[in-house]
C-alpha cells in the first residue's frame, strides 16, 4: 500500500516536472500570440458590434449599425457601393486564382520534366520576385502600365483602351497584379505534387486510354489535386483580403474589401464599419480553410493540404 503510494507520488512528481517544462518552453510564445494577436482580434470583433463615435472611434451602446452600413444602408438610404466592392473582391479573387492555376500548372509540370540539376534553380527563379517587397513589385507594374508606356500604347493601338488612359488604374491592372503576386504560391505546391507523381500509374493509363487527354484526366490530374488545393488556399485567401495591389493599381473604381476596411481605420472615419468588414474577411478565410480541409480529407491528402 505504502510503496504503491510512493510510486504514484514519484510519477506525479515527474508529471509536474514535465508540465513545468512544457510551460517554460511554450508559454512565452503562446502568451505572445494570445496577447498580441488573439486579444486584438477579439477586440476588433467586439468593435464591429459597437456604434460609431466621434473621430471614428467605437463607443457604446452596442448596435448592428456597422453591418447595415456594410450592406449599403446609410443616412441617404441604400446605395450599392459597398456591395459592389464585396462582389468585386469575390470576382477578382476567382479570376486571379483561375488565371494563376492556368499559368502555374504547365509551369510546374515543365520544371519537373527538366533535368534534375536545373530544377532548384528554376524554382528559385520563380520564387525570387516574391522575396522583394510587395510595394516595390507593384510599383514596377505602375511603371509598366502607366499612360505612354509601350504596353499602354500597344493596347491603345489595338483598341482595348481609349486614348491617353493607360492600362492603370483599372480592374485589369489589379487582376494582373494579383496573378503576378501569387504565381509562386501556386507553383511550389503543384511542383511538389508533380514530383511525387506515380509514373507507373501514368503509363498504365497511357496503355488503357488511347488519347493523351483522357490519360491526363484519369491518371495525372487526380494525383496533383492535393497540391492544387493547397495552392488555391494559399492564393485565394490572401487575394480576397488584398490591400496593396488594388490601392496602387486599382484607383477608386477597383476597390476591394481590404481597401474598404483599411480606409475606415487609416482615415479615422468609422472603426465599427471596418471591423465588420474584417469579420466578413475572417469568415471567408475560415470557410475557405474548412472547405479545403474537407475536400482534402475526402481526397485522402488530408493533413498536407492545409499547409
Amino acid at each position: 500500500m505504502s510503496t504503491n503510494n510512493i510510486a504514484v507520488m514519484g510519477r506525479s512528481q515527474g508529471m509536474v516536472r514535465e508540465a513545468r517544462h512544457l510551460l517554460f518552453t511554450v508559454a512565452p510564445g503562446a502568451l505572445w500570440i494570445v496577447i498580441f494577436l488573439v486579444l486584438p482580434s477579439l477586440y476588433l470583433m467586439a468593435v464591429a458590434f459597437m456604434s460609431n463615435g466621434p473621430y471614428g472611434l467605437p463607443q457604446m451602446p452596442l448596435s448592428l449599425n456597422s453591418f447595415k452600413q456594410l450592406a449599403g444602408v446609410g443616412f441617404l438610404g441604400w446605395s450599392p457601393g459597398n456591395l459592389y466592392t464585396l462582389l468585386r473582391s469575390l470576382w477578382q479573387t476567382l479570376v486571379a486564382t483561375g488565371l494563376v492555376v492556368l499559368v502555374a500548372y504547365p509551369l510546374a509540370y515543365y520544371i519537373t520534366i527538366c533535368r534534375a540539376k536545373w530544377r532548384p534553380i528554376m524554382l528559385l527563379l520563380v520564387v525570387v520576385p516574391s522575396w522583394t517587397n510587395q510595394v516595390i513589385r507593384t510599383f514596377g507594374w505602375m511603371n509598366l502600365l502607366a499612360p505612354g508606356t509601350p504596353l499602354s500604347n500597344a493596347a491603345e493601338v489595338l483598341g482595348f483602351i481609349p486614348p491617353n488612359m493607360g492600362l492603370y488604374p483599372s480592374n485589369f491592372a489589379v487582376t494582373l497584379g494579383l496573378v503576378y503576386n501569387f504565381l509562386p504560391f501556386m507553383v511550389l505546391p503543384l511542383y511538389a505534387a508533380f514530383e511525387k507523381l506515380d509514373t507507373a500509374q501514368v503509363e498504365a493509363a497511357q496503355d488503357l486510354y488511347a488519347r493523351p487527354a483522357r490519360a491526363f484526366w484519369h491518371a495525372v490530374f487526380p494525383q496533383t489535386l492535393p497540391g492544387l488545393l493547397a495552392g488555391i488556399v494559399l492564393v485565394a485567401i490572401p487575394a480576397f483580403g488584398m490591400y496593396v495591389i488594388p490601392e496602387l493599381l486599382g484607383g477608386g473604381k477597383a476597390m476591394m474589401l481590404g481597401n474598404l476596411v483599411a480606409t475606415q481605420f487609416s482615415g479615422g472615419s468609422n472603426w465599427p464599419l471596418g471591423a465588420a468588414g474584417a469579420i466578413l474577411m475572417l469568415i471567408a478565410t475560415f470557410i475557405g480553410l474548412f472547405a479545403m480541409r474537407r475536400i482534402g480529407k475526402r481526397l485522402g491528402g488530408g493533413e498536407e493540404v492545409v499547409i
Binding site: 517544462h21 500570440i33 520563380v126 511603371n143 478565410t285
Partner: protein, 271 residues
C-alpha cells in the same frame, strides 16, 4: 513527335513567364539609372538618383528603421520561436491541438485583419495606460508575432528529423541539462536557427501592410516611405531605393543557391 512539340511549347511558355516575372523589377532597375525626371522615357544613364538618396535624411532614417526593426524582431522571434519549437517537439505526444491552432493563426490571418487588429489594440491600450505608443516598439511586437510561427515550425521540423536517442546519448554521456543545451541542442539545430533568422529577417523587410498600420509618425520604414512617395506622386528616387532592395534580394538568392548546392553535394557524398 507530339511529345517534342509539347516540350517546345512549354519551353517557350517558361521563358515568357520569366519575362513576366522579371519585367516589373527590370523596369525599376532601369529607371533608377535614368538621367531625366520622366517616368515614361529614358534619356540617358546617370547616378544622380543614388546621390540624392544619400543626401535624403528621411530615406536614411527609414533605412535605419527597417534594419533596426528587422534585426530586433528577428532576434526576439528566434528566442521565443526556438523555445516553442522545442516545446512542441518535446511534448509532441500530448494533445497540443490548441497550440497548433495558435501557431497557425498568424499565418492564416489576412494581413489587413492582422494589421488593423494590432492597430486598434495598440491605440486603445495607449489611451488607457499611456504605454505602447505607436512607433518602432509596436512594430517590433507586431513583427515578432508573425515571425514566431515560422521560427517555431522550422526548429520543430529540425528536431523531428533527429534520432530521438541523441537526447538520451547526451544525458548518458554526463551532460547536465545546461550542457545539453549548449553542447548538443544548439549546435545540432544551428542550420535551422540560421535559416529561421534569415526567413524572419526577410519577412520583416518584406512586410508592408502590418508595418503600415502599427507604425507611428517617426517610425516609417523603407516600404512605408516608398508607399508614401508613390501616393504623393512618384519621385524617381524611389527607383533607386527599390533597386537597392532588389539587389539585396538578388544577393540573398545567390547565397541560398550556394547553400542548397553545398547541401546537395554533402548529401551525395553521404549516399
Amino acid at each position: 513527335m507530339r511529345k517534342r512539340t509539347l516540350k517546345r511549347c512549354l519551353t517557350a511558355f517558361w521563358w515568357i513567364t520569366l519575362v513576366f516575372l522579371y519585367l516589373p523589377l527590370a523596369v525599376v532597375v532601369l529607371f533608377s539609372f535614368n538621367a531625366s525626371n520622366s517616368a515614361a522615357s529614358m534619356t540617358g544613364l546617370s547616378l544622380r538618383w543614388y546621390h540624392q538618396l544619400l543626401g535624403n535624411e528621411q530615406i536614411m532614417a527609414a533605412f535605419g528603421n527597417t534594419l533596426v526593426l528587422a534585426i530586433c524582431s528577428s532576434v526576439i522571434a528566434l528566442v521565443i520561436g526556438c523555445l516553442i519549437g522545442y516545446g512542441m517537439y518535446r511534448h509532441r505526444h500530448r494533445k497540443l491541438g490548441w497550440l497548433i491552432v495558435l501557431i497557425y493563426l498568424p499565418i492564416v490571418l489576412p494581413d489587413i485583419v492582422f494589421g488593423i487588429s494590432e492597430m486598434a489594440f495598440f491605440v486603445q491600450f495607449h489611451r488607457l495606460t499611456g504605454l505602447l505608443q505607436p512607433g518602432l516598439g509596436t512594430m517590433v511586437i507586431a513583427h515578432v508575432t508573425f515571425q514566431i510561427p515560422f521560427v517555431a515550425l522550422i526548429v520543430y521540423s529540425r528536431f523531428v528529423g533527429l534520432d530521438p536517442t541523441l537526447f538520451e546519448a547526451a544525458k548518458d554521456l554526463y551532460a547536465t541539462p545546461v550542457k545539453r543545451v549548449v553542447h548538443f541542442m544548439l549546435p545540432t539545430i544551428k542550420p535551422a536557427l540560421i535559416s529561421a533568422f534569415f526567413l524572419s529577417f526577410t519577412l520583416s523587410v518584406d512586410d508592408f501592410v502590418i508595418s503600415f498600420f502599427t507604425a507611428g509618425p517617426e517610425s516609417a520604414t523603407l516600404p512605408i516611405y516608398i508607399w508614401g512617395a508613390i501616393k504623393k506622386g512618384v519621385s524617381p528616387e524611389i527607383n533607386a531605393i527599390a533597386t537597392l532592395m532588389i539587389g539585396a534580394v538578388a544577393i540573398a538568392a545567390a547565397i541560398s543557391l550556394l547553400f542548397s548546392r553545398k547541401n546537395q553535394h554533402s548529401r551525395k557524398r553521404q549516399s
